[in-house]
């Protein structure tokens, strides 16, 4: 009886942890419903200053696919310019993500000079 109780306790804990982790993952998922026009400027202001070819490699929206941008934003702590990310709020990040995602390599409108 006690073993059975312990078993269900463990199951509950595992379920709770799994749910929390899932929720955390879901929370960090970026969506492209921000302001892409504003994102283009914020990208110039916050990203290109670091991704200047010396501190970090130069990038543009079409250097990655939409899935790659999604992964990049979910794991930005690993990036060379991670410190810059801390300075921006969630709204700015969403705007930048929207710009990059909407003009990614496999998007309907990959970034050009325009």
């Amino acid at each position: 009886m006690a073993r059975k109780k312990r078993f269900w306790s463990v199951v509950c804990i595992v379920f709770f942890v799994a749910c929390s982790f899932g929720a955390a993952l879901a929370g960090s998922e970026f969506s492209n419903d921000g302001n892409g026009r504003k994102g283009k400027y914020l990208y110039r202001k916050n990203c290109r200053t670091c991704h200047d070819g010396s501190s970090a490699a130069e990038i543009s929206p079409n250097t990655k696919t939409q899935a790659q941008w999604q992964r990049t934003f979910n794991t930005y702590e690993r990036l060379e310019c991670a410190e810059e990310w801390q300075k921006m709020d969630q709204g700015d990040l969403t705007d930048i993500f929207t710009y990059l995602y909407d003009h990614a390599y496999d998007s309907p409108q990959p970034a050009t000079c325009g």
Binding site: N35, R37, K45, G114
Partner: protein, 379 residues
């Protein structure tokens, strides 16, 4: 001995005659050419001292020399305002007495009067009046304005009234030859195109493709050479209807003020920061001078085609110029997709939030081969 003295005397005479001749020839440019050099037979009623177009051209310089005054004796309206020899002062013969105060104080100043050609008596009459006033160095360019315009490379100067009238008809391109910053940005004739003389070669693509389209250049007034240099450069490019508004921006401001009725309330579009597209099209067609239209494409794209009243500040250069942007009219950024113009809008929001009247065109601005444009709303 007697022969020797005679020969000495003859030598002296020859030397003196030579000196006198040399003196006369040396001073020749100061005086009228010999009447026999003229290409027409002077009439009895003509003034006694006549000059030809080459002589006049020698005295046409910007700024005008202190010791020369070229005087247009034709009526101010409509003749003088429509076209006159660059640097010429208007003293119509019919109102000569009213214009006397415009004559120079120094009575030895060279005065060259002209009017409408060999049949025109106005310049001759005015010249005689000037001589009666004591002016000692008076000439008449009898072939007048028609002959001036016949010479290849010559152009006419016009007055503010003429510029305004032509702009109202929308059948002329007025070009500001002053530096874009700070002069043009601080103030210019509404609707004027900025093609600084120093950048004429690189920006001449902004001029109309049709070489017979009328162009009027202006700069900072009677002392300013830039508009004259640009006019000559345009003529060399093949433009056939080139004029200079010599009085330039100072004369324009004196006549029409800094900012004639150009105020406008911009209607915002649906997207944040955007201008209502219907109103934008209306502004372009009817009141282009009411906004600062800034094309944020790269210079090479702008050179290919652009909206008539737009100025080019590529988005990559905008940050450096943000503080110099004027605040007396709404600013509207344009580009082919709304991407760079939108970016420019948010740049100003961030870097110069005090500028409240800033908008961008949210939509596609597409130029066609015939020079027209189309605005396509973003889908």
């Amino acid at each position: 001995m007697k022969n020797f003295k005679f020969s000495q005397r003859m030598n002296a005479i020859v030397v003196i005659a030579g000196l006198l001749l040399g003196l006369l020839l040396g001073n020749a440019p100061l005086y009228a050419k010999s009447q026999s050099d003229l290409t027409f037979e002077p009439e009895d009623w003509m003034f006694h001292s006549l000059v030809d177009v080459e002589e006049v051209a020698r005295h046409v310089q910007i700024p005008v020399a202190d010791d020369v005054m070229i005087i247009d004796a034709r009526p101010y309206k409509p003749k003088y305002i429509k076209g006159h020899i660059p640097g010429a002062v208007s003293i119509p013969n019919t109102t000569f007495e009213d214009g006397v105060e415009r004559l120079p104080e120094d009575k030895d100043t060279l005065l060259i009067f002209y009017c409408g050609g060999l049949k025109c008596k106005l310049s001759h009459k005015a010249a005689r009046k000037a001589e009666k006033l004591g002016y000692s160095n008076v000439r008449v360019f009898a072939e007048g304005f028609p002959r001036w315009m016949e010479v290849s490379g010559h152009y006419a100067s016009v007055s503010a009234e003429y510029v305004a009238a032509r702009m109202a008809e929308n059948d002329v391109v007025v070009v500001d030859a002053r530096p874009y910053k700070p002069k043009y940005v601080k103030g210019h004739i509404p609707g004027a195109l900025s093609v600084p003389d120093t950048q004429f070669d690189s920006l001449s693509a902004k001029l109309p493709r049709k070489k017979d389209f009328p162009l009027i250049f202006y700069c900072g007034g009677l002392e300013c050479r830039l508009s004259h240099k640009s006019a000559k450069a345009a003529i060399e490019l093949g433009y056939t209807d080139v004029k200079v508004f010599s009085g330039g921006y100072p004369e324009w401001k004196a006549a029409y003020g800094d900012d004639p009725d150009t105020t406008i309330m911009v209607e915002a579009g649906e997207v944040e920061g955007s201008i209502d597209i219907a109103q934008f099209q209306d502004i372009l067609e009817n009141k282009p001078e009411s906004i600062y239209l800034i094309d944020v494409r790269d210079a090479d794209e702008f050179a290919e085609n652009s909206l008539e009243n737009s100025i080019n500040i590529p988005v990559d250069d905008l940050e450096k110029q943000v503080e110099d942007l004027p605040d007396d009219k709404p600013i509207v950024f344009v580009c082919p997709t709304g991407a760079r113009s939108g970016e420019s809008f948010y740049m100003l929001q961030d870097l110069r939030p005090s500028l409240k009247e800033v908008y961008y065109l949210e939509g596609g601005l597409v130029f066609t081969e015939d020079g027209t444009y189309e605005i396509k709303p973003t889908e």
